[in-house]
Symmetry: C2
Subunit: 208 residues, 2 copies
């Protein structure tokens, strides 16, 4: 696939994992792509915790299900019904969990480009995640970003030091297929916006 | 180029811009790729302000140069000397500024997947930036992320509402070439790390 095919083929995957192993050379290429992301001051502040252990994944899945209920309780009846049909995680079905973290001490004390914007390091970690996601798509793997969790719970589960911030739990693995339409759109949660809605010219709100 | 070639070819560009215009169809493909990024709850919380106006760009460039001095003043002599050789922006030399912002109200009140992690919306914006960066690379354009600025200054310059957060000023445009080695590595600021340094297994700090 070329770059644009990968970008538009990529999906957030929850229900399609086969549970098969990821071949080591494939995983290596995907992680190498993530690690080639740009980062503020070349700080490369990301880490990748590869979670294979079943008991850790089960504990995390149980926590995610509890957080799902917390979110569902905030919804009105119509939204709650729509939400009830949406799967939010494939933690046990995917073959690997990849937890991506942010270490603000990497490259410190003077990270070039971070003195005015403390979150710039966090942004770098997200760029690595998108590289990982696209590389996985190129390799025929699915990726599902789980964000129904409390950071402290995930920290404790993986012995992540207090200074380091978990940014994502990614469910990764071979899939039967990638859906053409995002799950949330298919289930009527929310639609994709026209590009024009998010474009401005020289001044925020100026539409031409 | 295939996905991996684009990922590894991509560079943060400052000195290589030619100042030529970006053809409209190319710009459209690049922005469409950015807009195809994944987002928490399909909220698509990004906006793109295309800054062509010279006076706005000059005002921003002047602010960036002032912030460069703020950062330089924090460095010891050896680092300050290294930093003095590094160009941190191509705001006037590039043909277009693209300011990417985060709107937390998009898709509110109940953004699926954001109740436990408020920053998840901000993360989505970064994924769109990486899509933009890779698409620009595919098209032979350079991208330079400028982060030497105060968010409030940029907000005022572009009439960005208070609730909306600027995430990046991207210098975008045709380039003479893309350097093989990141500028910061070439100038001895910092080196790329081996992949092994950022990999952990089942528990943070476990190296196999």
């Amino acid at each position: 696939m070329n770059l644009y095919e990968v970008v538009h083929r990529r999906r957030d995957t929850r229900a399609e994992f086969t549970g098969e192993e990821i071949p080591p050379d494939v995983l290596r290429r995907v992680l190498t792509a993530a690690h080639a992301a740009p980062s503020v001051g070349l700080s490369q502040p990301w880490d990748f915790v590869l979670v294979r252990d079943e008991s850790i994944r089960r504990a995390f899945r149980d926590h995610v299900q509890a957080e799902r209920s917390v979110f569902a309780a905030q919804l009105d009846q119509e939204r709650a019904e729509t939400f009830s049909r949406i799967k939010v995680e494939g933690v046990m079905e995917s073959s690997l969990g990849i937890v991506v973290t942010y270490d603000p001490d990497r490259g410190s004390p003077a990270v070039l480009g971070r003195h005015a914007i403390a979150d710039a390091g966090l942004y770098s970690v997200c760029l690595a995640i998108q590289n990982l996601w696209l590389a996985a798509t190129e390799e025929g793997l699915g990726v599902g970003w789980v964000s129904f969790y409390r950071e402290d719970v995930l920290r404790r589960l993986l012995n992540i030091p207090t200074r380091v911030r978990p940014v994502a739990w990614l469910c990764v693995g071979p899939v039967r297929s990638l859906p053409d339409t995002p799950d949330l759109e298919r289930h009527g949660w929310r639609n994709r916006l026209p590009l024009e809605d998010v474009l401005h010219y020289d001044s925020y709100g100026r539409r031409n």
